[in-house]
């Protein structure tokens, strides 16, 4: 509990510093937000253009596919804000900044995450909520009092899937300082998870469900709110899978930190 409180106060300090540096280059903030959103805009344009040619994708309608995409944007935005570890290998291992982290009392992963916190990505989550609501209204879905609560649980579970996976991937650089090319590989596989998993063949479905569970960051939890796409059981697995993947990620990170010997320069 005390550790949690300490992390929270660190978080406030880091955000304060973040805001101070960002105020120097104010225009950059908005440019970053816009270029983040453009990527999602491209995927949504793809969906819209494709559905001009066909009424359904498998048994998914346009609004349903958009709904799944909007859901995906929520955990993805939270993940990108707090777990911006893309340049971890370069900055902390090759350049040796990990030494500095390890001399401090706070948790190493907490520090690395806070140093790279990226609040503009949260705007993507807000846009995702907007897209979900719009699709919700178009689909005329029923609204229950517990839906917002379920959404929070699902979004957190999905976020943990991402955080756990990418923490494990970042920790690979503790074991091998040569670029392995595995992060971009996984990043591209993750694109499969944004669309209804039923369109893929069985191998890919298995991969996305049990090995690299990206389907839990899109179609499974989103199906909870959609009518007739069954599998509420799969939806409820989201927080469970999230917790397991996070535990695995933390375990890889810890064993990596133990092996860390410094850059030697």
């Amino acid at each position: 509990m005390r550790r949690m409180a300490q992390s929270m106060s660190l978080f406030r300090e880091y955000i304060g510093n973040y805001i101070k540096t960002k105020l120097t280059y104010r225009a950059d903030f908005w440019v970053e937000v816009i270029s983040d959103l453009m990527f999602s805009a491209m995927n949504l344009i793809f969906i819209f253009v494709v559905f001009r040619q066909t009424p359904a994708l498998g048994d998914w309608s346009e609004a349903e596919v958009v709904f799944v995409y909007g859901y995906f944007m929520i955990p993805y935005g939270i993940f990108s804000t707090f777990s911006n570890l893309w340049n971890f290998s370069d900055r902390y291992i090759t350049k040796g900044e990990m030494d500095r982290i390890l001399t401090r009392p706070a948790g190493s992963l907490t520090q690395v995450m806070l140093e790279n916190v990226d609040p503009p990505s949260l705007i993507g989550s807000l846009v995702g909520i907007g897209i979900m609501i719009a699709a919700w209204l178009r689909l005329d879905l029923p609204f229950h009092w517990y839906d917002p609560l379920v959404l929070i649980v699902m979004a957190l579970g999905s976020t943990l899937v991402y955080v756990g996976l990418y923490t494990a991937l970042a920790a690979i650089s503790f074991f091998s300082d040569a670029p392995t090319g595995i992060v971009p590989l996984i990043y591209n596989i993750q694109n499969y998870g944004r669309y209804p998993i039923q369109i893929y063949n069985r191998t890919i479905r298995f991969l996305l469900t049990w090995l690299l569970p990206f389907a839990f960051v899109g179609v499974y939890p989103a199906s909870f709110f959609l009518v007739g796409h069954g599998g509420r059981a799969m939806a409820w697995l989201t927080p469970v899978v999230g917790a397991i993947v996070l535990a695995l990620g933390l375990w890889v990170w810890r064993s990596g930190v133990k092996r860390y010997r410094g850059a030697g320069s």
Binding site: I34, M42, G58, Y200
Partner: protein, 264 residues
């Protein structure tokens, strides 16, 4: 003079060769992306024979060849140029008796040759083994395709140079570079052939240089363009190449009077 430039091609090629391991995973990544769109399009087609004038086979071929063409023409010259502008090393290069932009183009070409031989060709073979695609039988079509690919490289590189040179005029063009990359993927036809867009968008896009990068060469390759249309497509590319030299020359002249190094 020419041999100096050719040396830049050679050096960049050898440099890329030294880091070739990075590109083996690149081939897998491109195969993954082609796969994602392949399944997507298969589901989109459903039971339909043709869609937007494409058969399933043509569509798969189109996706595969478009991604593989991207493996060739893609480069990071925009990032390189803007880094050199921001850290000031561009000033040193300007004093040399060779053209900075030509050097960049040649370095890009060295990378392109590397990408063609060690990325696009093996990638194409792997993709042909995995996915049902149909390669053209007519050797003439192959020749025209490679000529068009050369223009794709030139036009994409010109757009990269322009984006990179923006670093002279704005303090941070990172966002601009990201936007350019997305614009090229979306508007050049890598993820969606132009013929799927609604009429008004097609009309706008036909007046932009992006389609000359992917859509036109891939349409020739998949046999969707025939006869005089093929030569029209090549002509469109040549015209865009010529037109784009004008803003680059203008930016370069304007830039030289306002180099401003951050923290230099």
């Amino acid at each position: 003079m020419l041999s100096a430039y050719l040396d830049f091609v050679r050096i960049r090629f050898l440099m890329m060769l030294a880091y070739r391991v990075n590109y083996y995973s690149g081939i897998i990544i491109y195969a993954i992306n082609i796969g994602a769109y392949y399944f997507m399009w298969k589901a989109i087609f459903g039971d339909a024979e043709t869609l937007g004038g494409f058969t399933v086979m043509q569509m798969t071929t189109y996706i595969a060849v478009s991604w593989m063409a991207r493996a060739f023409y893609f480069n990071n010259l925009d990032r390189e140029i803007s880094n050199e502008i921001r850290d000031g090393s561009v000033a040193v290069q300007m004093t040399r008796p060779i053209s900075y932009l030509m050097v960049k183009l040649m370095q890009g070409f060295g990378e392109g040759v590397f990408r063609l031989l060690l990325f696009m060709v093996p990638g194409m073979i792997i993709v042909k083994l995995i996915f049902p695609i149909e390669l053209p039988a007519d050797p003439m079509r192959w020749i025209v395709f490679f000529v068009m690919l050369w223009f794709s490289f030139l036009i994409n590189t010109q757009l990269n140079i322009m984006t990179g040179l923006f670093a002279f005029f704005v303090e941070n063009n990172q966002g601009l570079m990201n936007m350019k990359r997305i614009a090229i993927d979306l508007l050049s036809g890598v993820i969606l052939p132009m013929s799927f867009f609604p009429g008004w968008a097609r009309a706008v896009l036909s007046w932009l240089p992006f389609q000359a990068i992917t859509y036109l060469p891939s349409s020739v390759f998949t046999g969707r363009l025939n006869g005089s249309d093929v030569w029209n497509a090549v002509l469109v590319q040549a015209i865009w190449f010529a037109v784009l030299t004008v803003p680059i020359a203008w930016m370069w002249r304007a830039a030289r009077t306002r180099l401003f190094v951050q923290g230099g």
